[in-house]
C-alpha cells in the first residue's frame, strides 16, 4: 500500500463512514446507561430498525418515512426494555439479550415473508446520497459524506450538553447514580428512565437506518454484524462520556478502515486478528479502569420504592 497524503485522506473518509452507525448506537447506549440501564438489546435494535427503515422506504418510496420507521422501531424496542427492566425490574442482562434475540428473529422472519428465501440482498432504487464537498480536491473523500455522518458528529456535543448542562440531563444522571436520592428530591425515577430509553431508541434507530438507507442502500441478514456489541464496548471504553465515546468509535473504525485497505491491497495479514484487537483493548481498558470508578452507580439495579 502506498502511503500518500491522498491515501491517508481516503482512509480518514472511510473511518468517518464506518464510525457513524457505531457512534449513533453508542451515543444512544450512553444516554440509557447514564440513567442506570444496560441495554444489551442494542444489537437487535440496530438490526430491526435497519430492516423496518428499509421496508418502509421501499414500500412508501420515501426515505424520510423509512428514517421515521427506523427511529420508531428503536423507540418501541427500548420501551420494551423499559417495560422489562424498569417497570417489572427483571434482570437487565437477560432481558436485554432476550430483546436482541427477539428483534433479530423478527427481522429474519419478516425478511423471509417479504422477500422470500433469496440470497441476493434487496436494494433500494434510491438511497440517501453522499453530499458533494471539496470536489476535485484531495479533501473530497474526507468531507463528501452522507448528511447523517454530520448529524452523528453533531450529536456528540449535543448529547454531552444534554447530559451535563440541562435539567433533564441532571435528572437523568441522578436516577443513574442515586435513584433513592433522586426519588426523595421529587424526580420520578421510572419516568426519567423511560425518557432516556426513548432518546436512546431514537439514536439507535438512526444508527440502523444509516446502514440500510444511506451507506449500503440495501438490507441483508448480516448488516449489523456485531456493531451493537462494539457500541457497548465503546461506551465503557469511553467512560460513559460522549466525547470519549466519539474517540473510541473513531479509533475502532480507523482500525477497521486500515484493515479493509490492507486486505484490498493484497497484503497477506491475519486481518481477523487485527479486527479482534479493539475488543481485547476494551477488555484491558475495563480491567485497568475497574468498572467501579466511572460507571453509573445504579447501573443494572432495578429501582423499587420501599414500602
Amino acid at each position: 500500500m502506498e502511503l500518500s497524503i491522498e491515501s491517508i485522506l481516503v482512509l480518514f473518509g472511510a473511518t468517518l463512514r464506518i464510525a457513524t452507525p457505531i457512534l449513533l448506537g453508542a451515543l444512544g447506549e450512553t444516554v440509557i446507561e447514564r440513567a442506570g440501564i444496560l441495554n444489551l438489546g442494542i444489537e437487535g435494535t440496530l438490526l430491526l430498525s435497519s430492516f423496518t427503515g428499509f421496508v418502509a422506504a421501499q414500500v412508501t418510496g420515501s426515505l424520510w418515512i423509512g428514517l421515521l420507521a427506523a427511529m420508531l422501531t428503536g423507540v418501541v424496542l427500548c420501551l420494551l426494555m423499559g417495560l422489562l427492566s424498569v417497570t417489572l425490574g427483571v434482570n437487565q442482562h437477560v432481558s436485554g439479550l432476550g430483546i436482541t434475540m427477539l428483534a433479530t428473529a423478527l427481522a429474519l422472519f419478516w425478511f423471509r415473508l417479504q422477500y422470500g428465501g433469496g440470497t441476493t440482498p434487496p436494494a433500494l432504487d434510491e438511497s440517501f446520497q453522499p453530499l458533494q464537498a471539496f470536489t476535485g480536491t484531495p479533501l473530497e473523500p474526507v468531507f463528501s459524506q452522507h448528511w447523517l455522518v454530520y448529524v452523528a458528529l453533531l450529536l456528540v456535543p449535543v448529547t454531552a450538553w444534554m447530559l451535563n448542562r440541562t435539567s433533564f440531563g441532571l435528572r437523568l444522571r441522578s436516577v443513574g447514580e442515586n435513584p433513592e436520592a433522586a426519588d426523595t428530591a421529587g424526580v420520578s425515577v421510572y419516568r426519567v428512565r423511560y425518557e432516556a430509553l426513548i432518546v436512546g431508541g431514537i439514536l439507535m434507530g438512526l444508527g440502523g437506518a444509516f446502514l440500510s438507507l444511506a451507506q449500503l442502500g440495501a438490507f441483508s441478514h448480516g448488516i449489523i454484524n456485531g456493531r451493537g456489541w462494539v457500541a457497548i464496548a465503546i461506551v465503557i471504553f469511553g467512560n460513559w462520556r460522549p466525547g470519549r465515546v466519539l474517540a473510541g468509535a473513531l479509533l475502532f473504525s480507523f482500525v477497521q478502515a486500515l484493515q479493509l485497505r490492507l486486505q484490498a491491497s493484497g497484503i497477506a495479514l491475519p486481518y481477523e486478528l487485527l479486527l479482534a484487537l479493539p475488543y481485547l483493548l476494551t477488555i484491558v481498558a475495563i480491567a485497568l479502569v475497574g468498572r467501579n470508578v466511572s460507571a453509573p452507580a445504579a447501573l443494572l439495579k432495578p429501582y423499587r420504592r420501599e414500602g
Binding site: V90, M101, L102, Y279, I286
Partner: protein
C-alpha cells in the same frame, strides 16, 4: 375500593409451579399474531410445531439430535447463573471446544475410538475452561462485570475461528473455509440406527446428571447456591466466594466446550463458523426456562428442540418462515422472565 396490590412475598406454590404453563400459553397467544400475518392458521401452526414432530420416528430422533447442544449449553449457563455469575460467553466457549475437538480429532488417526473420543472431550472441556478463565479472573479479583467481557470474547472467538478457517486450517482438499475432516476414530458413534442421534446426547445427559449431583449433594454445590442467593451473606458465613465462583465459571466454560466437541464429533466432523446456530445464547433461554435446575434444563432443551424441529415442518406445510422458532424462543424467554417475578412478588385483590 377494589384494586390490585403487589406485595413483596412469594406467590402461592400452585401459582409458581404453573409459571412454565402460563409462559407457554401467553407466548403462543402473542405469536399467533405473527402466524396470522404470515397467512396461516395459528391452530394448524401449533399442531405442526408441537404435535406433528412427535408423531414421526425420524422427527423424534431429530429432536434428540437438536436438543444435544442445547442441553450442554443450558447446563453450562445454569451452573454459572446459579452462582450469580452471568456467563454470556457460552457461544465463544463452545467454539473454543470445537477448535480443540477438531484439532485433536485430526491427530488421533492411530488411536481406537475408545481413546480418541475421550481425548477430544477432555481437550474441548479444557479449551472451554481456558476461554472462560480471563473473564472469571477479572470478575473475582477485580470485580469487572463478566457480562461485557464474556460477550466481547464471543466476538473475539469468531474472529479466531475465521482466521483459522481462512488461513492455516483451510481444507486443502475442498478449499472451503472449513477444517480438515477428523479421523474416523474421532467420529461419534450413532446411538439410534438410521438417525443422527449421536454419543453427544449421552455426554449431555451425563453432564446434566453429574452437575445435578454436584449441586444438590456436595458441599461445593451448597456453597455455590448460597453465593448465588446472597453473596455478602455467604462471604460472612466464611464461604470462599472467590474460589467457588471461579470454579463455577470454569466448569460452565468447560461444559460449553463439550457442546462444541459434540457438534464437531457427532454432526459435522470438521470445524466451521456455522457450527453453532447461536447455541450458546440459546443456552441462556434453556437455563431460564429450566428455572436454573438440571432436570429443568434438559426438559427446556428438549422443548426448544421440538419447536425448532416443528418450525421446519410448519415452514414446509404452511409456508410460515422457519424463523418462527427463534421468535417463539425469544418471546418465551421474555415472558417467562416476567412471570418468574411471581417467585418474589404476589398480586392480591384489595377490597
Amino acid at each position: 375500593m377494589a384494586g390490585l396490590r403487589i406485595e413483596r412475598a412469594p406467590s402461592p406454590v400452585w401459582v409458581r409451579s404453573l409459571i412454565p404453563v402460563f409462559s407457554i400459553f401467553v407466548t403462543f397467544l402473542l405469536v399467533s399474531v405473527l402466524i396470522i400475518s404470515a397467512g396461516a392458521s395459528p391452530l394448524q401452526a401449533f399442531y405442526e410445531l408441537l404435535i406433528a414432530p412427535l408423531t414421526k420416528t425420524s422427527a423424534r430422533a431429530d429432536i434428540l439430535m437438536m436438543a444435544t447442544p442445547l442441553i450442554l449449553t443450558g447446563v453450562a449457563v445454569t451452573v454459572a447463573f446459579l452462582g450469580g455469575y452471568f456467563n454470556i460467553g457460552a457461544e465463544g466457549q463452545l467454539f473454543a471446544g470445537a477448535i480443540a475437538g477438531a484439532w485433536i480429532g485430526t491427530l488421533v488417526t492411530d488411536l481406537p475410538s475408545t481413546a480418541a473420543i475421550p481425548l477430544m472431550l477432555l481437550g474441548g472441556f479444557l479449551a472451554g475452561m481456558a476461554w472462560a478463565l480471563l473473564p472469571a479472573l477479572l470478575k473475582v479479583y477485580l470485580s469487572v462485570d463478566e457480562v461485557v467481557t464474556t460477550l466481547l470474547l464471543n466476538s473475539v472467538m469468531l474472529f479466531i475461528v475465521s482466521y483459522l478457517l481462512n488461513g492455516p486450517w483451510r481444507d486443502p482438499v475442498s478449499g472451503w473455509p472449513q477444517s480438515p475432516t477428523i479421523a474416523l476414530s474421532g467420529q461419534f458413534p450413532v446411538l439410534i440406527p438410521r438417525s443422527r442421534v449421536h454419543l453427544g446426547l449421552l455426554v449431555a445427559l451425563a453432564s446434566a446428571g453429574v452437575m445435578w449431583w454436584v449441586l444438590a449433594r456436595t458441599r461445593f454445590g451448597l456453597e455455590l447456591r448460597a453465593i448465588g442467593k446472597n453473596r455478602e451473606g455467604a462471604q460472612f458465613l466464611g464461604i470462599p466466594v472467590r474460589s467457588r465462583v471461579l470454579m463455577a465459571a470454569l466448569i460452565s466454560g468447560g461444559i460449553a466446550g463439550l457442546a462444541g466437541v459434540s457438534e464437531v464429533g457427532g454432526i459435522h466432523y470438521y470445524l466451521s463458523s456455522t457450527l453453532s446456530n447461536s447455541f450458546g445464547y440459546t443456552g441462556i433461554i434453556v437455563a431460564t426456562l429450566g428455572a436454573l435446575t438440571m432436570p429443568g434444563a434438559v426438559l427446556a432443551a428438549l422443548f426448544l428442540a421440538l419447536i425448532n424441529r416443528g418450525a421446519l415442518s410448519a415452514s414446509r406445510e404452511l409456508g410460515v418462515p422457519v424463523y418462527l422458532a427463534d421468535v417463539i424462543q425469544a418471546t418465551l424467554l421474555l415472558v417467562s422472565l416476567s412471570f418468574l417475578l411471581l417467585n418474589r412478588y404476589r398480586i392480591r385483590i384489595r377490597r
